[in-house]
Each structure stands twice: as structure tokens, then as C-alpha cells.
């Protein structure tokens, strides 16, 4: 490429790159720097504390609790949300008519903003006016009614269920597109060979979906580490920190307790987890694809 061409290349990229660098790259670096300091905000003295914040994290029971809760959300997202999304996708693609209707119905939850979902589900879980307790009373299971968000034993699972409700249809959309992209002739050939619908799913659909399953797992992992809005509005991390996630704990330390350095250390832990998981998934999926290619 000539020099003048290189300048033009840079010229087109520059505006996007500038915004990206100022509001995404620089802040990540800055978070890393801040995580080694103690700071209460602009206009206050900033002192370097070395690895002090990280050492404190290791001793902080609420940090470990929020790490555990984020882990629970992460596992449910990958092992329940994605299969539910895949199930919905199979319902839609195997429907003989009105595919668009079913897709639209299932997709409603993902169209709502998380804040709206969170407020709505607070009403759904409400002890007196909530539709869940109302249903339990209606079928005679009065003893099962409870304040779902108000007790440490149920709150986390109640929030995770709302999260599943909101996001499973998002993955459904991706799986529908992928399933419709599979060549029909493969299924026709399998049907002629007498393959049952389950066999067709097991030996055609599922193997061909592997690349999409990997992409959606990464998206789902990244999504659960980012999860914030739902917990912030439904429980604020309570009762007694039982629903605290890394993101809500970071927010609490940074913007309620004004411990910006400590909060940055939590943020860096989130960054590290995202980074490690992405690399592991990508490397492993590359390897398994090579292995499959070798066998084929």
C-alpha cells in the first residue's frame, strides 16, 4: 500500500478509533491502574496501595459470596438458558404452520428493557399481589406461598429465573437462524433412511450447531458476568447479600462507599474472568474442530 493510501486508510478509521480509544480502551487501562490505589473520587487524594486492594479482596467474605453467586448465574445461563433457548427454537422450526407467530410470542420477553423486566417480576413475586403466590393459592398449595425475593434461601433463584425468562428467547432467535440455515436435503436423505425425529436432531442438527453453540456459550458467559440491572432493581443485592453479584458489588463499593480503587479491583476480576473464559472456549473449540476435521 502506498503512503497516501495508508493515510486514507487511517483517515477513515480515525473517528471510530478515537471514540473507541477514549471510551473503551483508555478506561480499561485506567481501571487497571486505579485498582492499585486508594481513592474516594475526583478532588480527593489518591494514594498507591500496591496489591493492597487485591489482598483485601481475598479476605472479603462478600466478595467470595458475589463470586459464588455470579458462578451460579453463569452455570444456569449455560446449562439451562441455552438448552431452553434451543428447545424453543426446535418448537418454532418444527411447527407446521405459523412459525412467525410462535417466534413472536416467545420473543416478547427479550424485547423488554431489563429494568421493565425487573419491576414486572417484582410484582410477579410479590407476596400478596404476586401472580406466583396467587397461582399456588388457586391450586391449593397455600403452604408453598412465600416472599420469594425477601428470604436468603429463594432470592437468588428467583432472580436467576427472571433472567432465564428474559434471555432464553434471545438465544432461541440465534438457534432458529442457524437451524433454518441447515440444508434441507440432509434431513430428507435421513428420513429416507428411516431416521426418527430424535435421531435427526441428535445426529444432524446438534453436530451442525456446534459452532453456534460455542458462540452462544461465550455470549452467555459474558452476559452473566455483566448481569447487573435485574439484581440492582429486584433486590439491591439483598437480603443480607444473598443475591450480590460481582457487578452489583463493584457498583456498591465504587458508587455507594466511594472506594474507587477497591471497586476497580473487583472490576479487574470481572475483566480477568471474561478474558480467561473466552480464551479457554476459543482454544478448546478450535482444537475440537481440528480433531473432527482430522477424523472426517
Amino acid at each position: 500500500m502506498q503512503r497516501s493510501e495508508r493515510l486514507k486508510w487511517m483517515g477513515f478509521l480515525l473517528p471510530a478509533l478515537a471514540v473507541y480509544a477514549v471510551f473503551l480502551i483508555y478506561p480499561i487501562v485506567q481501571s487497571g491502574v486505579l485498582s492499585f490505589s486508594s481513592w474516594a473520587g475526583p478532588g480527593r487524594p489518591k494514594t498507591s496501595v500496591g496489591f493492597g486492594n487485591y489482598a483485601e479482596l481475598l479476605q472479603d467474605p462478600i466478595f467470595w459470596l458475589s463470586l459464588r453467586n455470579t458462578g451460579a448465574l453463569l452455570l444456569v445461563s449455560v446449562f439451562l438458558q441455552l438448552p431452553v433457548g434451543l428447545g424453543l427454537a426446535l418448537i418454532v422450526t418444527s411447527a407446521r404452520r405459523a412459525k412467525r407467530f410462535w417466534r413472536a410470542v416467545y420473543f416478547l420477553p427479550t424485547l423488554m428493557s431489563t429494568v421493565a423486566v425487573a419491576i414486572l417480576w417484582r410484582f410477579v413475586y410479590s407476596p400478596e399481589y404476586g401472580i406466583i403466590n396467587g397461582f399456588l393459592r388457586w391450586v391449593g398449595l397455600d403452604s408453598w406461598t412465600q416472599g420469594w425475593l425477601g428470604q436468603t434461601g429463594t432470592a437468588l433463584w428467583a432472580v436467576i429465573a427472571a433472567n432465564l425468562w428474559q434471555w432464553a428467547p434471545f438465544y432461541m432467535i440465534i438457534y432458529i437462524a442457524a437451524i433454518l440455515g441447515i440444508d434441507r436435503e440432509i434431513y430428507e436423505a435421513a428420513e429416507m433412511d428411516g431416521a426418527s425425529p430424535f435421531q435427526q436432531f441428535r445426529f444432524i442438527t446438534l453436530p451442525l450447531l456446534v459452532p453456534v453453540l460455542i458462540t452462544t456459550s461465550i455470549l452467555s458467559l459474558a452476559g452473566s458476568i455483566k448481569a447487573f440491572d435485574l439484581v440492582y432493581i429486584m433486590t439491591l443485592g439483598g437480603p443480607s447479600n444473598s443475591t450480590e453479584l460481582l457487578a452489583t458489588y463493584m457498583f456498591r463499593q465504587g458508587f455507594r462507599n466511594y472506594r474507587l480503587g477497591y471497586a476497580s479491583a473487583v472490576a479487574m476480576v470481572m475483566f480477568a474472568i471474561t478474558f480467561v473464559i473466552t480464551v479457554i472456549v476459543l482454544v478448546r473449540s478450535n482444537r475440537s474442530q481440528h480433531a473432527n476435521g482430522g477424523r472426517g
Binding site: E5, F23, I28, L34, R103, V115, Y129, P211, T215, F251
Partner: protein, 295 residues
């Protein structure tokens, strides 16, 4: 394209002989039952919201779950006199600026990344791709400090930078993969006519890329309409609130007026619903595009 294929598949099965279909009736019924149960689980909170919004406050307390006995629109008209209209307007401004800004910057960036021949493209693309994974919280404190230093704290304009930056990775990626598929001959013809890069972008790339641009617009709109964390950190006075923050404030104030709250939730969600009904295929491909091509 997809909808056309789906429709032919439907017609095909409707045209199959009756004998074959009746032999399959039972699995068909089971399938319909599963589909219906899943549909009830998907929509019951939404129905709860809609029916709640149409009830009077007394009516809701008497009968929270059933069909409203007397229907009222007072909950909706009540919103007009509250700050809700302001929140709605703020959200529209934020969505319009974020979508326009993201599309413009992403088109400019995707053009060299897809049509220039240089080894620098791959590392540059990776820099953008990495951004897809970054959790917002990792940037939250520095952006909060930066916004204060730029004297943009508590102003809607302070949201534009982070919103555009977080949408750029996926936008650049979707657009660049689309631009690569534009036939080379169009560019050669334009170059022979003496058109520069700027002309080519305006008169070939943009007009040819309607589907990809609307896909990017959809993804960005959904993000901007629903975003909560940045708004929570970067705004403080309620006149600047977009809808998600406004709903949260409403919830604090009016937690006794459940039907009023339900009406607010309904109106806040309405634009996205209408958007979806009007352009189902675009929204769907918009959401699927990032993930599918992401591999």
C-alpha cells in the same frame, strides 16, 4: 428471504395428502401442547402487565390476576401529567443520536477494513472484536471520572460517547463482513470513472448496504433504549432521565399504585414491540447476525 422460505415450507406441508397427516396427528397434538405451555410461560408476566394497566387501583387490589372487570384508561392518561413524557423524549433523543453516530462511524471504519488491501486490517479488526466481550463495569469508574473532567456530568450528551463506543465493535464487524461481499466490479467501474474513496462510500457502499445498516441500527437502538448502568452513574437530575432510570424512579415513588406502574411499563416497552411487529425479519436477523457471523 427467510420469510419467503418459511412460507413455502408451510404451504408445502398444507398441500400434503390428508392420509399422511392424520397418521401423524398424535405427535402433532403433543407438539402443539408443548408449544402452548411454553407460550403461556413466556407471556404470562406480559399479560399480567397489560391487564394490570387497564384496572383501577381498587379493581387491582380486589382482583390482581383475573381479567379486568371494569376497564380504565386513566392509568395511561395519568402518565401524560407526570414526568414520564420527559423520560420518553430523553430516550428518543439518546436513541437517535446513538444510532446515527454508531452507524456513521462504523461505516467509515468498516470501509477501509474491508476494501483496502493491507496487513494492518487483521490486527485492527481484532482490536474492535475484543470490545464485544468487555463488561461495561470494567470501564465504569474511569468513564465517570472522565465525564466529570469533561464537564459533561449530569447531561444526556455525556452518554453518547460510551454508548457509541460500546456499540462500535459489533457494528464495525457486521458492516465490514457485508462490505466484503459487494462485487469488485462496481468498485472498478467507479475507479475508472475517477471516483475517490469518499465518492465510493457515498454512492456505492452506503446505497448497497441497506440490510446491514438497518441490522446495525436495530442492535444499537435496542442497546440505547434499554441501557441502565451508564445512565445511573452519569446522570443525577430526574429531568435528564431516560426511560429505564425514569421507570426505576417511578417504582420508588408509586410502588403503591401498581396499575399506574404497569401502564408506565407498557408504554415504555411499546416502541420496541411495534418496531418488532413492523420489521420482524430485520430485528431477528439483526440479533442473529452478530452471534452467527461472530464465529
Amino acid at each position: 428471504m427467510t420469510s419467503a422460505t418459511v412460507r413455502t415450507v408451510d404451504q408445502g406441508s398444507a398441500g400434503t395428502p390428508g392420509a399422511r397427516r392424520s397418521g401423524r396427528r398424535r405427535p402433532g397434538l403433543l407438539r402443539l401442547a408443548i408449544a402452548t405451555v411454553a407460550a403461556i410461560l413466556s407471556v404470562f408476566p406480559v399479560v399480567f402487565m397489560l391487564s394490570g394497566a387497564l384496572k383501577t387501583r381498587g379493581g387491582f387490589l380486589e382482583n390482581p390476576f383475573g381479567i379486568p372487570t371494569e376497564i380504565t384508561l386513566a392509568n395511561f392518561t395519568g402518565l401524560i401529567h407526570s414526568e414520564f413524557g420527559k423520560y420518553f423524549l430523553n430516550s428518543i433523543v439518546i436513541a437517535v443520536v446513538t444510532v446515527t453516530g454508531t452507524v456513521t462511524l462504523a461505516v467509515l471504519a468498516a470501509y477501509p477494513l474491508s476494501r483496502f488491501r493491507t496487513r494492518l486490517n487483521t490486527p485492527m479488526m481484532l482490536v474492535f472484536l475484543a470490545g464485544i466481550m468487555i463488561p461495561v463495569h470494567v470501564t465504569l469508574i474511569p468513564i465517570y471520572v472522565l465525564t466529570q473532567q469533561m464537564r459533561m456530568y449530569d447531561s444526556i450528551a455525556g452518554l453518547f460517547g460510551p454508548y457509541i463506543a460500546f456499540n462500535l465493535p459489533i457494528a464495525v464487524f457486521v458492516l465490514a463482513s457485508f462490505f466484503r461481499q459487494i462485487p469488485e466490479s462496481l468498485f472498478d467501474a467507479a475507479k475508472i470513472d475517477g471516483a475517490g474513496h469518499w465518492r465510493i462510500v457515498r454512492s456505492i457502499v452506503v446505497p448497497m448496504s441497506g440490510p446491514a445498516i438497518s441490522t446495525v441500527a436495530v442492535i444499537t437502538y435496542i442497546f440505547a433504549w434499554n441501557e441502565f448502568v451508564f445512565a445511573l452513574v452519569l446522570l443525577s437530575s430526574s429531568t435528564n432521565y431516560p426511560l429505564p432510570l425514569g421507570l426505576n424512579a417511578f417504582y420508588g415513588e408509586f410502588s403503591v399504585d401498581i396499575p399506574g406502574m404497569m401502564a408506565a411499563l407498557t408504554v415504555a416497552t411499546l416502541p420496541s414491540f411495534l418496531f418488532f411487529l413492523a420489521a420482524q425479519e430485520r430485528v431477528v436477523s439483526g440479533l442473529a447476525a452478530g452471534a452467527l457471523r461472530g464465529e
